[in-house]
């Protein structure tokens, strides 16, 4: 590895960190186990020990005899099933995507030098980093925004509106105009919710959608594609026909039906969109797996009796990883947009303080309180834009051929 | 849109190129692809430009009707077609020359036709952009030509798409496309390189026949001296954007004067000498060496070869010119003469000539 300069992500010798000749487990898998075990334990505890109306963490503190400590630390969370899945996905992301970048500094350096030539993509990465951290940590520090009619319609800092529109101005009043304060940098809604807080909580929702759907899509897509390619024959034919149906499915419409019949939680949203979005990934993995099988080195391992599973793990998945990541990056903005649309229509989970819901709530007051619509609207716009830029840059960085052609 | 350009002087040579230079601006600097070359093509003759790939021969021929993309390319010099200076023409006037007076066929017939249109459509297009011919008549002419270039069942194949043609058939169709407007000059840029040997010979024979039939001139670009022997009347040897040697085909084959021409001769497969190619590489076109361009690879090079400009072309026989220091006054030309090669090629050449004309 050290002697060979990898000139693209695909050609990296993944053996370096997924070395699994026989039973030895890579450091990444060990880490994954270490991280996932407490999570699973906590989930099982929540599932079987904690009552329906009880909160998980206070109950845990009670059982461990550490109630006092938990209380001083402010550990009173009650994670939902989706939260467990989200945390699990974050672990997978950190251990199998971020950690390898650290383990392979040479590759990372090359990769970064390619990537940073694309300015908008770097800015996008920074923005997505903010949304990621905000979404992950924000809810731990910022309480869920609550109704407070008296604080309604406060303008953002540096902005002022006619006093008549504000029930009770918190900031300075001059010439009959109410000025915004730093207590609410982006202002408040009609119900007095702080907009910045809602936006940060909305980040959590967007990140949950982005990460969990991605994990599900990648898992189903890769499994389906490789199984189809290695089975061959009629199994392959049937699986690919099935994929055709999945791809031509009007998911949004189907989801409206599901929503109509069963109601729409965020979990349901993620589930429905994830299980109907893996078609492209599966198709790609299959075609790549077939071409990889043709290659000489695979034939060699095949003769030596290596298992199919090993071929998939060591050759197909690493070879397709970069393209799958790119594909998924370009899928995510669609999911986030759909969630916002449903929330805007009032068809989403009404409990969730999401960006779409905030936009909907500000619609009627648009003429005098435009910030309620504009702030979350721009955050949504920037997030979708950032994912698109990022995907585009990854496409260029991971596909030097395309770039060479473009330079011609 | 028939050619209504004035000033054609029917007595002037068909094509006169003087001091043609073509440069390309790149990020790394200005690339000198063709460096001040002259040549003439007369009515009815075949002139071959020979050289390794990268010697600037393709750029030189594509500069004639300015097929070069400008920018980054830039063409300077004088190019006269029957006395008319093409360099002074507007882009629109040039278009009425392209395909109409001067036609092109290219190296790779696989990609040279648009895959979305039938072969017939593309031939008719070549005619109808120049001449206001009714569709039916254009079609009839295209079918005639397809038949003439040796496409069997031409009226049916007219409606076929390029992917339904084989490589050789595509090149035949390209020839038909080039000839449909009856040009005076056909520029053929390595038209046989991408084809297998048997097809190659057929295409060369076809070009020879068509030349006689239409009385056109051919400017033929190749790196293959074997092809030159079969088709050329006169030969221009190019290296790194400069002309090294020129003369009629017998002079070049019987008395190759320039060390570079000799090196090319030795590369001919049945020469029995060294077929490992010419040692060394073409000079960097961004920064060509002083003196003779070939000096760094020349076994005879002396200090005088590496200073100043490319040596002036010296006439060593009637119409046989060579750009080499050793043919100038005060140098001994016998240093670079290769007697062995001259005797050898004399025999070889006559046999090739027989081969080329016996069909």
């Amino acid at each position: 590895m050290a002697t060979k300069k990898p000139d693209r992500f695909d050609q990296v010798d993944w053996d370096e960190f997924t070395d699994s000749t026989g039973l030895s487990i890579s450091i990444n898998t060990k880490l994954m186990l270490v991280a996932a075990l407490p999570l699973v334990a906590l989930y099982l505890f929540d599932r079987f020990r904690v009552g329906e109306r009880e909160k998980t963490f206070p109950k845990l503190g009670e059982d461990l005899g550490l109630s006092g400590l938990f209380e001083t630390l402010g550990l009173d969370y009650n994670p939902s099933n989706l939260d467990y899945l989200f945390i699990f996905t974050i672990f997978v992301f950190l251990i199998y995507l971020v950690l390898p970048l650290y383990q392979n500094p040479r590759m990372t350096k090359y990769y970064w030098s390619e990537f940073k030539r694309n300015r908008p993509a770097v800015v996008s990465l920074v923005w997505l980093g903010i949304v990621f951290v905000g979404g992950l940590l924000g809810p731990l520090f910022i309480k869920r925004p609550e109704q407070d009619i008296l604080r309604g319609h406060q303008p953002p800092a540096f902005y002022h509106i006619s006093e008549n529109h504000v029930p009770r101005c918190l900031g300075e009043v001059s010439n009959g105009r109410c000025h915004g304060t730093w207590a609410h940098p982006l202002g408040t809604t009609q119900g007095g919710k702080d907009i910045l807080d809602v936006i940060i909580h909305g980040m959590t929702i967007s990140m949950k959608i982005a990460f969990i759907t991605t994990l599900i899509v990648a898992t189903i897509g890769i499994t389906f594609g490789t199984v189809s390619a290695f089975s061959g024959g009629w199994v392959d034919e049937i699986m690919m026909r099935f994929t055709d149906i999945v791809i031509s499915f009007p998911t949004f419409i189907l989801f409206l039906l599901v929503l109509y019949i069963y109601g729409a939680t965020l979990g349901m949203f993620i589930f429905v969109f994830a299980i109907f979005s893996w078609g492209g990934t599966a198709r790609y993995v299959r075609s790549k797996a077939l071409s990889v099988t043709e290659e000489e080195f695979i034939k060699a391992t095949n003769i030596s009796g290596a298992s199919k599973y090993r071929i998939i793990r060591k050759h197909v998945v690493p070879n397709t990883a970069s393209s799958i990541i790119t594909q998924l990056t370009l899928l995510i903005p669609g999911f986030i947009l759909f969630e916002a649309q449903l929330a805007f229509l009032g068809l989403g989970d009404s409990e969730l303080p999401s960006w779409g819901q905030l936009i909907a709530s500000g619609r009627s007051d648009l003429s005098f309180a435009p910030w309620i619509v504009l702030a979350p609207g721009f955050v949504l716009f920037l997030t979708i834009l950032a994912f698109n830029f990022l995907g585009d840059a990854l496409l260029d960085a991971l596909n030097p051929q395309a770039e060479a052609e473009a330079d011609k | 849109m028939s050619s209504n350009l004035p000033d054609f002087d029917e007595d002037a040579p068909l094509l006169e190129v003087e001091d043609l230079s073509t440069t390309f601006r790149t990020d790394a600097g200005t690339l000198l692809a063709v460096d001040g070359i002259d040549f003439t093509v007369r009515k009815g003759e075949t002139v071959c430009i020979v050289g390794e790939s990268g010697s600037g021969k393709t750029v030189a021929t594509e500069s004639i009707t300015r097929l070069i993309k400008e920018p980054p390319g830039q063409v300077d010099g004088t190019i006269r077609n029957k006395g008319l200076n093409l360099m002074e023409l507007s882009e629109k006037e040039l278009r009425s020359i392209r395909g109409n007076n001067i036609a092109h066929i290219f190296q790779n017939p696989q990609e040279a036709m648009n895959h979305c249109y039938t072969v017939g459509w593309q031939i008719v297009e070549a005619l109808r952009v120049h001449q206001d011919v009714p569709k039916k008549e254009a079609r009839a002419r295209a079918i005639d030509l397809l038949d003439r270039v040796g496409i069997a069942n031409a009226s049916a194949r007219f409606n076929d798409y390029p992917h339904e043609f084989s490589g050789g058939q595509k090149q035949r169709a390209m020839i038909a496309m080039a000839l449909v407007a009856e040009p005076d000059l056909l520029i053929a840029d390595e038209p046989t390189t991408a084809l297998d040997v048997t097809v190659q010979a057929q295409i060369l024979r076809l070009l020879n026949e068509l030349q006689e039939e239409y009385g056109m001139s051919i400017l033929f670009v190749t790196h293959d001296l074997g092809v030159v022997a079969e088709i050329a009347d006169r030969v221009i040897v190019m290296y790194s954007g400069k002309v090294m040697e020129r003369g009629d085909v017998f002079q070049i084959f019987e008395q190759p004067a320039h060390p570079y021409t000799q090196a090319l001769m030795r590369c001919l497969p049945d020469k029995g000498v060294d077929t490992g190619g010419i040692p060394g590489q073409l000079p960097d076109p961004l920064d060509p060496p002083d003196g003779c361009r070939f000096a760094p690879r020349c076994e005879h090079a002396i200090e005088d070869c590496t200073i100043g400009e490319q040596p002036a072309e010296m006439e060593i026989d009637s119409d046989h010119e060579v750009s080499c220091v050793f043919y100038q006054h005060g140098y001994d030309e016998s240093v670079v003469r290769d007697r062995e090669l001259e005797d050898d090629t004399a025999i070889e050449d006559s046999s090739t000539e027989v081969g080329a004309t016996d069909d």
């Binding site: 936009i359 648009l366 | 648009n114 039938t118």
Partner: protein
């Protein structure tokens, strides 16, 4: 396999896809708790009757006591004979309500589709011809803006600026104006603009990247050597081959936006089209109408994909029908 045979096979496949989707809809409906039946049980309990008996009676009334395969076949027959039931909320048969909605949806969908198909490829090819110039960067920037800005958010902003502040277009959609009137153009200009902005970006990107390849192709040099003018070369030798890869994404992209955004755009602009009808059916718990409008969208999707495949096959002369 000839073209005719290929088309037959492809149409049959579209039929299978629609059948699968309809079946999924049936399964979803069948295993969901039916509010009407629960209502009957509650009513019975309140009146002191046996709730179980009331449930059975209600099920019998709706034919839900029959074996599932009979219900399924019945459902299929109704779906494919357009026997889609009565809409409580609209007080008219479901197909009629849908047809009325379609009338309004078509009024903005048709100009939107035409404009997208005209402008998208033209700007894309123009961008490729001027690649890496400021014109290209401007077009690329617009493309990214277009597909990143949420349609409903963009619509609200435009309404605020052009209807409320500037008063150039009406705030409220009037369904009674004539289709081909200036008034109708004025009230549809914003929704069409929003949708075109959203759909054009993807088409521009695809045509730019695909046509870049053809601009540098050998056949362009051939065309130039033949004496073909640049405009003609772009129109015939670049645009035409670009249509082939473009055709594989165009319908998909338009459909995705139509299926995903028509509800939003119609709600924002107050257009009483199919999307708004679906929305109102959902809000008003009108099961027949919900199912009916979802079937319409589904069929539009299936037919759109069918058209896409057929157009691609016809556009690319190199395609072999055996490959698919």
């Amino acid at each position: 396999m000839g073209l005719g045979k290929y088309i037959t096979a492809r149409v049959a496949w579209a039929g299978i896809v629609s059948l699968v989707i309809v079946t999924i809809a049936f399964i979803l409906m069948h295993f969901a708790p039916n509010p009407a039946i629960q209502q009957a049980a509650t009513d019975a309990a309140l009146q002191g009757n046996d709730p179980q008996e009331a449930i059975e009676r209600a099920e019998e009334l709706r034919g839900l006591d029959r074996p599932i395969h009979v219900q399924y076949l019945d459902f299929l027959q109704n779906v494919y004979t357009l026997n889609w039931g009565w809409s409580e909320y609209r007080s008219q048969p479901v197909p009629q309500a849908l047809l009325e909605g379609l009338y309004y949806s078509a009024q903005y969908s048709v100009p939107w589709t035409i404009l997208t198909l005209l402008i998208g490829p033209l700007v894309g090819v123009y961008s490729a011809i001027n690649m890496y110039s400021w014109k290209d960067h401007l077009a690329t920037g617009f493309a990214f803006f277009g597909f990143a800005i949420p349609n409903f958010f963009f619509g609200i902003i435009l309404l605020l600026v052009f209807a409320i502040w500037l008063g150039w277009v009406p705030v409220i959609y009037n369904p009674d104006v004539a289709v081909f009137s200036l008034e109708n153009i004025r009230q549809l200009i914003l929704p069409v603009f929003v949708l075109v902005t959203g759909s054009i970006g993807g088409i521009m990107r695809v045509s730019r990247n695909e046509s870049a390849e053809f601009l540098n192709a050998d056949f362009m040099k051939t065309a130039k050597a033949k004496g073909v003018s640049p405009m003609r070369a772009y129109a015939y030798h670049v645009m035409r081959p670009t249509m082939v890869p473009l055709s594989t994404t165009v319908v998909g992209q338009l459909l995705a936006i139509f299926l995903g955004s028509s509800v939003l755009v119609e709600v924002v602009f107050g257009i009483p089209g199919l999307g708004r009808l679906t929305f109102n059916a959902l809000i008003n718990q009108d099961t027949n109408l919900v199912l009916g409008s979802l079937l319409v969208f589904t069929f539009i999707g299936v037919v759109g994909n069918l058209i896409e495949d057929l157009v691609f096959t016809i556009l690319d002369p190199r395609i072999s029908y055996d490959d698919r």
